[in-house]
Amino acid sequence: MSVKKDSSWEPVILAFCCNWCTYTGADTAGLNRMKYPENVRVIRVPCSSRVNPQFILRAFQKGADGVLVCGCHPGDCHYATGNYYTRRRFMLMQRLLEYNGIDPKRFQAKWISGSEAAKFRDTVIKVSAEIKALGPNTKFAEGYYAQNEGGNE
């Protein structure tokens, strides 16, 4: 992964979006021709609780600069309870990543319903700006030894 930071640099952001709420919200944003940063790659998942914490580690490893997990508001889960597990899981994951040196802005979670197209757009704009300000992510990224001499001595 390139770590050069120049004015043309755009972050790579993965957004895991639950099929029933946020993905629909993103769809609505598109239908309404709302403009939001194109550096966000949306990955549709059946439920926010489908997102394994390991996906986030792997995303950083493979070159993502930020990860966003979005799902239905608590109480609105299509599967009734999925997002309650998401909530616990990612509150802990965010703290564990912070403890390992990852800025909590680089991994965020948000509840966005199917009708909240504007919230989707605003969230994506905000997250994208925050990550742009942080710069490229090199933490957990692949190829450390290739780019840095020595490595494990």
Partner: protein
Amino acid sequence: MGNLTKEQIQDRIREEAKKALATGEVSCVVGWTKTRFPDKTKPFFAYTDAECDLLVWNEYCINSTAKYALDDRYPEQKIGLITRGCDSRALNRMLKDNQLKRENLYIIGVVCDGKENPVCDGCQHKNPLTYDVLIGEPVEETINEKRFTEVEAFEKLSADEKYEYWAKQYDKCIHCYACRNACPACNCVECYADQYRVGWQGKAADREQNQVYGLTRVFHVGDRCIECGECERVCPMHLPIMRQTKKMLKDINDLFGNYECGLPDDSKPVLGEYKLEDPDEFM
């Protein structure tokens, strides 16, 4: 401690082990025996009376006996286990995770007097919590005020300092999986780390794969860790693994209330349940 001397406890262990074998229901008793080093013992499986006389009890009985119960998940006879407080919590862990059946175990509990092991200083449960027979009088339990002090101190470092620290630790890791093999919470029949073709994690023992392994394991055991310290003790590269697992436990304590694993209650792991009134940071 208190009522029985080490020799008396050792005699009682041998006596109870023989009694257990004599019932015909127990195939072997897992404990410790001496090695050629005066300051080391090794895990030992006693199948006969003569072997029971080789069981020892001293400050060097350090290895956890509990996880050996997993080596035979469907035993024809009961497995006997010499069990300290930490071993009993490990057994509770595996019982709660439905990896063992209580009726397959014969638990000889021993009130522990502390071992030559750093985690013993912070031990909150020297009395076995689950047992069939108990050797020794239960002692008063202590609260470890310093349970999270190391984590709290580490949290104060800057993001880059934290990252550098852990990255260098994971540089050392040789991907041997000893930490997983020793851990009572790592009781999966098939570990994700062995599923190379699924692609969860690369095979190379380099920084990035080790980071993924280390953090994934921490997260997997995070809400079930019994704080026995086995992972850290067995790590040949001396990674401070409990500094990560305790971080998870500390956050769980802060967010979801006082939490300790391996107790003989019917509580579920924190990530396996939820409450409607949990704090919400994602609105």
